[in-house]
Every structure is written in C-alpha cells, then in structure tokens.
Amino acid sequence: MNISRDNYEKYFLDYLEGDLDPDSVAELKLFLLQNPDLEEELQGFEEISLEPENIVFTEKKMLFKPEISDLIINESNFDDLCIARLEGDLTQDEAEAFDTYLGQNPEKQKEYDLFKQTVLKPDQSDIFENKRSLKRYSIKTVRSRIIYYIASAAASVIILFSVIYTLWDNEQSNAIHIADNKTGNDEMIVENTAPEEKEISEEKDFLTTTEDNKPENSGRERKNQKNIKVIDIEDRIEKPFAIANIEDEVADAGVPESEKNNPLITGINRRQVFIDNSQTLPQELLPRDQINEYNNGLLSINGDFGQNKNIIKGLKDISAWDIADLSVKGLGKLTGWDVHMNNKYDENGKVKTLAINAEGIGFSTNLKNN
C-alpha cells in the first residue's frame, strides 16, 4: 500500500477534487479503516467549500494604452519616413501620425512633395513596334484523338483522290504537243511519214551508236509506232505521262541490257518524245538535268533523284515521295493552283529538304535522313 500517515494529505486532496482513480480510492478507504482518526479529518475537509465573491477592479482606466502611435519624427529619420510613407511601409497609425506632422509643418510638407515627384511614371509612347516579329505561328498540335483521326482520314482521302485523279488525267491526255516547226525552235514534227526513213535519221539521238556511227537496231522501236512527235524541252508538258516501264520498252527496242542506263538511251538531249495514240506507253527520255518542277511528276518517277538511272520506272519502284508528288500535283489540278514540290536532295539522292511552292508562297522544312 502506497498511502501512509506521512503522505495521506495528498491523497485526501486528490480525493476531494475527484482526481483519484478507482484503485487509489479503494486503497484510500482501506487506509481510513485502518486509521479511523484520519477518516474524521477527511470528513472535516469535505465540509469546507468556498464560494466566489463578486469583486471588481475599479482602476482599469489606469491600465489602458493610448490608441494613437507616438511616432518619433526628427531630422535624422525624416527622409526615411518620407520614403516609407511613399512606399507604403508605415502602419496606418504611423501614416496618420506622419500626415498630421506634415500638416503642422509646411516646410516639411514641401520636402515630402519633392519625394513624391521621384515616383517614376512610364512613358506610354515607348512601345515595341514590331510585335509581329516576336510572335510565333506553328501548326497546332491536335490533341483530340477524334479530331486527329478525322483529319488523318480526310488527308488520306484527299491524297488518294489526288493520285487517282492525276493518274486518270494522264490516261486521258496522250500528251499531244505539236511543236511549231516554223518557230525556229530546235524541234521536229514527224507525222504520217515512213517510219523507217525518219527513224533512221533520228534514232541516233535515241539509241547507242556503233563504231561506224550506225544506230543499233535502228528503227525497230519505231516500226510499230506512228505519228511520232518531238518537241523541245522549252515547251512545257501540260499533261504528264502515264507511268512507263522503261525497262520493258528498252528491252523491246532491243537495246542491250548494259545500255539501259546510257544517257543517250534514257535521255535525248533537250528532246522529248511523245507517242500519239499508241498502245504502248510513251518513253520519257529526259536527261536528268532537265527534270524540273514541271515535269518531274509522273515523267520522272524515280526515287533516286540526282542519279543517272532510268527516268521512268515501274509501279513497283514508286516511293512515298512519288505519291506525295502525285498528290500535290493532283491538289494543284483540283484547285487550279500552281502547286508543286521542289525538294532538295543530298549527295546520295535522298530528300534533305521538303519544299512545296504554291502561288508564290513556299513552305519548306529540313528532313533528318538517318
């Protein structure tokens, strides 16, 4: 037992104030049974209680502080107070006290007015004029998946339609350009003539020549053709050709395989040959350096621009750039705009800069070729 005659008062106080836990209360009662005289003492404590009296402090006024700040203003701090007043660094009380002081001292008011004039005001006539040069206009990234899919589908349809339209248009036009022989251009018209006769004289421009300067297999490729028309490169091709497989054509002409890439075969210097109403597709014979934006579409469908290869290739060799070029031309046809691709190529013949020109407006971007 913790309670003893030496410390019972503490337990009595806790018991009277209700701070004893049940175990301690039981222990206290046991102690009181063992010490009856102390039980009488505890009972005496229970009878004593004090009631609070209503006593009021009558001198409260002496305790109150004055509400107006007693700001100390003197020569040493007047400038700082002026600036603080301007900057809003004073409390409301301090500001009122300072204003009161200024009101009572006109010469100080003048000094404060001088401080007020140091507040700078922006000159609104100072403006940055060429704001347009700062702005950026970029293609907005379409975040909406739905809009993205719709736009992708629409673009695919437009490209497909442009390609189909271009191909259809090529078939419809058999590239009839009649050059005026009288204009003095370096061009000839061969029409309704004896194919063999004319071809022999012209074929040296088309085919490889042998040592004795006679064209090999001369005439064969022209035998079954009629109305051969030759125009100068200066006459623009308004309607592109359909795709031709030059390999087949050259083979038909009997040109040796090794000569297929011979520029004399694949390109007549500054001449183009069109075949009118021919069942076979025309052979586009255009020197590599003559390819330009006006005839580089179907006429020179060759992914390896810049290389001395066959200009016209089969459908199996058409690249994505070919499709792009077809679609751009198709769009131009549909809209009536002068739209064409004008890509730039690196030394490997790969497209390094994609460029599209339309009605005097050009867009270009550099491509990364890995």
């Binding site: 001088l114 140091t118 507040v119 005001k121 700062l134």
Partner: protein
Amino acid sequence: MTGKEFNLSVDKYSDSIYRFIYKNIRDSEKAKDIVQDTYEKMWLNAGSVDFSKAKSYLFTTAYHTMIDMIRRDKKKGDFENVRMEKYSHTEQYSDLNEILHEAVGKLPEDQRSVVLLRDYEGYSYKEISEITGLNESQVKVYIYRARLFLKNYLGKVEALI
C-alpha cells in the same frame, strides 16, 4: 504555354519590357534586341513556362540579359558613351520629367532597375528580389537610396531655377 498564349504575352508585355530595358540602357536598338532575345528564350522554354508566370519570366530574363549586355559593353569600354550619346527619344519632356529622366540615368544600375520595376510595374520588394536575384533587404535599401538621390537631384535643380 500554348502558341496562342505566347503570342498573347507578346501583346500584353512586350511594351512594358521594352520600356523597362530602354529606360535602363537608353539605347533603343539594343533594347529591341534584348526584347527579341527574351521572347526567343521564352519560346524555347514555352513548354515549361506557365502563362500565369509569363510576365515574371519575361522580366527576369530581360533583366539578366540586360545585365549581361551591360557588363559585356563595359568590358568593351563603350557602354557609358552609348548611354549618353544614343539617347534619341523624340518626345518633348516637360522640365520636371526631363530632369527626372536625367537623374534616373545617373543612378547606379541596380538602383535604377529596382526603382523602375517598382514604379513602372508596381512589383513588390519580394517580386523585385526574385527578378533581380537580390534579397528583399537589398531591394528596399536600393529603392530608398534611389529615391533619396532623385529627390536631392530635383531639389538642387529647383534651387538653381
């Protein structure tokens, strides 16, 4: 920040930035260059700058670009001459404004920058400290010193008049 927001920031803040830089360095062409550089830098970081922070970003970038240019030109030894000789504002100032403008030109760079940010843009001490890299106490001291200098300058001129 989207492209649209970027262009909106051009309309909203380019004049303020130009004015701040121009009043600091007193060279219209260099001020334009700094504005161009500032917006170019923000464009490069457009993806990480929120439009709500565009103004503070622009002023911070412009301020530091200006300081770099000032230090670079000081090394070349021609900046002080440029400051005084290339001042070519055509507007006719009133007497007081002209005097004040001259006085501002005589302030040290730090004091001039902070007082311009305070009066032109209404920035708080804290905002000015974030823009300039100074602590708030320094900003407050610089503003106090600047005002005292300007007041004394005006007082002397008025006394002469």
